[in-house]
Amino acid sequence: MAQQMCRTEENMRRYYGFADLLSTRAKEDPDAPALLYEDHGSICRISCSLLLEQVSVLSRQIRVSGKKCIGILCDGSPQCVITVFASVLAGAQTVLLDESASEDLLAQQICASDVDVLWGDEDLAQDLKVDCLNSLIPDLEMDSPNSLIPYPEVRDGQEPVNDDPEAALKAGCSVSGDILFFTSGTTSRSKAVVLTDRSLTASAFNGSSILPLSSKDRLLCILPLNHVFGFVCGLLWGLACGAPVALGRGPRHYSDDAKFFSPTVLSAVPSLLLFLLQHGCLNPELRTVLVGAGSCPPSILELAGRSGLHVCFGYGMTETSSGIALSISGDPYALQICPLNEVRIAPDEEILVRAGDCMMKGYYKQPEMTQTVLENGTLHTGDLGQIDADGRLHITGRKKEMLVFPDGTKLFLPEYEAAIAAVIGDKDFAVIERDLSPVMVIHDDPSNRAFLSAQLKSLMQQYPRGQQLRDMIFLSKPLPRTATGKVRRWELSQIL
């Protein structure tokens, strides 16, 4: 293992997969807290050695069970984290799923990724309409991680029972399973991106080498782990740097998690950061916020800066296991390219990335779709950018017909517009982004507003709140279009 390690100028270590990360941390700092979580109003801790122990025990049980593809409903609990690590190290294909997604979306994603067993918190499994899910996927086996491994009473200081968890882990981890993340879209275009523990720890190295944390830091993991930004920048970043990771308690505690866990560092999507700032939810110990996964208007960064926070902005994609570039000082939109990435700008200004070990294997069982974006190891991001004289990347726009929202979700406009057209009929309209929300621009009489709203109500309920049409703008003249009939969105925005 020693020859695999390297150190940067900032003395950050690179880990080559989860087994390397967990066993090295346990060996070097066994009693240091790896995870912090809430239990009955108190902050409890799981040490590096106990984390390794729990992962190795569960990993062994999963291997024995012979499960091949495990879907995990990510609730951000310690059990969830342990199960994800264990599943991957057991060699199972591990699919991270949104615990709050609808049954229909879950069913679609489960089928698309060949999940044969679904694990999650027992309360969550009950809340989920299991009957509904089982009727959609008859072969799906429902289970709970707790039936495989009783969660230890860590508060009692229970010691590991395994003689040599590191050896046990290494014995079975010769081939780690792939780990699948669904991109943030909610339409049929939502794709399963195949990553590995090696690509994810490489990505954590990317972040930690530019923005290192120390054992004195405390990282609050408030974003969902089924999102690659949350997984890498909310969890692995802290673990790789030796900083304890406080596991947030979900959306119900967005407003009080920071004051409860007193983090020094936080990763957030722009909309969440704005909410925390506006409602005075941040703690005085917090010094750094890493913002990513969505467009971040200057007003949010300015507000954070006025609060005395060091705000860094990250640019990345699920396809590159998260981080491509990161701003650390000065202009928050001038991004330093991460050490394992090469970025160049195509003649049409599209950002092209070679991400080395961080690059995805591809989209799950979609080789043709993979080929459309990944060409000889170079990813066509669909984003437009420029590189300044200092070699820093600036994002200037989007080539794809897609909106990326401050909460990190994406909306594919052609599909969205097709769904709307199926409801309102053949009308001259388009959807554009305004104030970070989708807005419908339509050539129609404004008096039809109420009728159109009523028509679209049911359809909009199928979309997350942030993706529902926020407004309608009525034009008295036809929308600008190309010769082939495509809406000139940029021109439309200029007209408005």
């Binding site: 609808s102 809340d127 989920l128 909309s271 969440l272 709203s453 109500k457 709140r465 926020r470």
Partner: protein
């Protein structure tokens, strides 16, 4: 607790969470996110406060389906009735 009383409390919670809406009428068919401009994070706060106020729990995956103020009231009403039984 009847629907009218639940709706009254829901309005109070919304005005408390989103002070800029004070004075803006909220009707049963008011679409919460578009007509009132409550963003997704603000809506999360509203739901959490409502859950605490009424001591009920609306599963996360139901939140996205709550479009109008009436939908929110119905979701609370259903769970309050279940609790009272």
């Amino acid at each position: 607790m009847n629907r009218e009383a639940i709706a009254k409390t829901c309005r109070e919670v919304i005005y408390e969470c989103v002070p800029e809406l004070e004075g803006t009428p909220i009707y049963e068919d008011t679409v919460i996110n578009t007509d009132t401009a409550i963003d997704s994070m603000g809506f999360t706060l509203v739901i959490c406060r409502l859950e605490a106020t009424f001591d009920v729990r609306i599963p996360n995956r139901q939140w996205a389906k709550l479009s109008t103020f009436g939908d929110v009231v119905t979701a609370i009403e259903k769970r309050v009735a279940k609790k009272e039984r």
